[in-house]
């Protein structure tokens, strides 16, 4: 993560995250992402390199078709941008939306 320049309280943060859960960013994880993003004041945008979408819109997030292994660029802009990006990264990469990763799935 590159902590952004702090100009007039406008903090900009960017991070690249990788989808780790086997089923990818289907509707339930997308909802979790949108719910979390919406708790913050800052703007959240997400890109898969092809589409740039609003991280607070479930319809738009579902358009990313982010499969397991896909890398997404998250950008947050606003007073709580840093908190938001940390929380979103935690959800995607560490909690992987409380779903199994491909390795964990095989063990089941």
């Amino acid at each position: 993560m590159q902590a952004g320049e702090d100009t007039l309280e406008k903090v900009v943060c960017e991070a690249e995250v990788e989808i780790k859960n086997a089923d990818g960013l289907h509707m339930r994880p997308a909802m979790q992402f949108v719910d979390l993003a919406s708790q913050f004041e800052c703007d959240v945008t997400v890109s898969n390199g092809e589409n740039l979408v609003d991280g607070k819109s479930i319809m738009q997030m579902s358009m990313l078709a982010a499969t397991c292994g896909t890398k997404l660029q998250i950008k947050t802009e606003g007073p709580d941008a840093e908190k938001a990006i940390n929380a979103l990264r935690e959800l995607v990469e560490h909690k992987h939306f409380d779903e199994p990763t491909p390795g964990e799935q095989k063990e089941l």
């Binding site: 990818g24 289907h26 509707m27 339930r28 319809m59 579902s62 358009m63 078709a65 499969t67 397991c68």
Partner: protein
Amino acid sequence: MKFADFVCFDAVLPELKAKDRDGVIVELVSSLDKAGCLKRGKRDDIIKAVIERENEASTGMGKGVAVPHAKHPGVKDVVAAVGVSSSGVDFSALDKQPVYSVILLISPVNSPDKHLQAMENVFRQLQQEKFRKFLRQCDRPDQIEDLLREADENPFLC
């Protein structure tokens, strides 16, 4: 992925009879069954799976559309049915508004990537106000098919 790759055009219902959510799900899954898109004898099980999924969290995304779906071994490939209700149905949508257009999608258990690609297409089209409006106006199955094929060829722009 395009609509033509997964929508079963023999399972499009421009005039849904059901007036409630579960009724719409039964109607659409049954039309997929009649069209031969489901493995034999799996209809009831699939209906149950879609309703259970819907109970977890509504797929009524707002703007009058819902996308009920489930993963189930009762299909070989991703299949979808499309229904339109002129009176609107309560799907407990995010915006609390009635739902007029329903795209019901059933995916096999072991191909999450295909499911995501089909969903990507569905949402890319449903984002477009024109597409939503035209879909709602369809009152014959061939109009729905034409609209979806048209959207495949020339995606509507906002």
